[in-house]
Subunit: 135 residues, 4 copies
């Protein structure tokens, strides 16, 4: 399993009139967590796109256990539990400053050829790098 921990601070722009981080923003927090997790092992979305591979989201699932508030520094733990095939799955756990689990989520992305917009296999270097965390 590959896992990584990153932090995001809730921006004022991301709050809503309940004073909570608006739900839609969690999708972009997921993205930050995935991006930083991959960057930590030398992989970037930018490189993938430069190589002609897009990675759109197929499915998202989110469960909000407790709110995140303005200026909270949220720890996001992200997990890759399976070597990706055409699909690439990420799971998330969000913790607030009091180390409470406030959110869990899951995303399934698909490797897509930029030209044909059809599903495609991930590049070998990406699989090889991830395999180092599995055995």
């Amino acid at each position: 399993m590959f896992s990584y921990s990153t932090k995001v601070r809730v921006r004022y722009s991301e709050t809503d009139r309940m004073g909570y981080a608006y739900n839609g923003n969690y999708i972009s927090y997921y993205e930050v967590a995935r991006t930083e997790a991959l960057r930590s092992i030398g992989l970037t979305y930018s490189r993938l796109e430069d190589e002609g591979i897009l990675l759109p989201i197929l499915e998202n699932w989110s469960k909000y256990l407790a709110p995140a508030y303005y200026d909270d520094l949220i720890e996001i733990r992200v997990f890759v539990k399976k070597i990706p095939g055409v699909k690439f799955e990420f799971e998330y756990e969000f913790y607030n400053d009091q180390k409470e689990l406030i959110h869990v989520g899951k995303t399934i992305l698909v490797f897509v050829d930029k030209e044909t917009r059809k599903p495609t296999k991930p590049p070998k270097y990406l699989i090889d790098k991830l395999k180092e965390f599995f055995d």
Copy 2:
């Protein structure tokens, strides 16, 4: 069952560099669909909040079958298939201009007392109004 159809046009601000409506924005499209569905039968979030009831999201699930693009006028069909208790469930289907189903989703919200921030029952007038669509 209560159902309603509304339309949202994809804004430039909502696109991403793939040229797709960014996934996180679907959560706010859901919100527009719910809001307009409830408004169509005389119910508003604003009134609920004025009455001391919040309606935060507990759970969201989204499946992206095909992209929505800039300036697309998306039809959102929203469904309430159960009379709400403490939880209020909505399902969505998104159709593009070619009447293709491009997205399905589901949200579970919870009625919460604004003061105690504890789950609470929905107001009677809301239940009564929704009951008109079930039998």
Copy 3:
């Protein structure tokens, strides 16, 4: 002068914890106003981009006279006071339900060639169409 009036309803996702429509969202409201103003006379951004012309923003100015609140239906009046050259200027006035002027703004966009990313002249049909409103 060319002017047009359109309406946007403030989404929950667009509010912040003051209960106001967050300032950054006004930029996307401007975009909606421009888009609908141009559409009303048969001009679309999409067509421009298909023709190889981008229209990025060079400059924005915004003055917030009074807040817009959740679920407010804001009337946006948009004005083109000059035939565009390389630059295309729009001015905005926002009115709330009580017909109060709550916001004024101005945007300067630039016609840019998609390939060279250099400033370019607007297409003739766009100028011709706008000229009908000036004399």
Copy 4:
């Protein structure tokens, strides 16, 4: 003069179909820059709001000299050039990885009493802290 430098990385969610960071997001980048600048000297928005003072934006001005792209790590230099009275002014300069100035901006905020929603003076401790950077 008080100045501070912070960094924000452009999220995928913040790009648009030109591949640029969407203009409206700069307003939330400004907010991040102000927040971190004030935090660096022990001042927080949260504390202000807890003390009954809101700090809404009165005026924003933005000039986009060159685009910011996905995953760019933008340096934002923020400047307070005047001791605030009822108004609090911030200026910004954005630099990309190549140290090019790509954006300048300015925001005028107003201290507002949370109850009366009328302009009010900033708290003494805030003025005292800022005064350390002027003379």
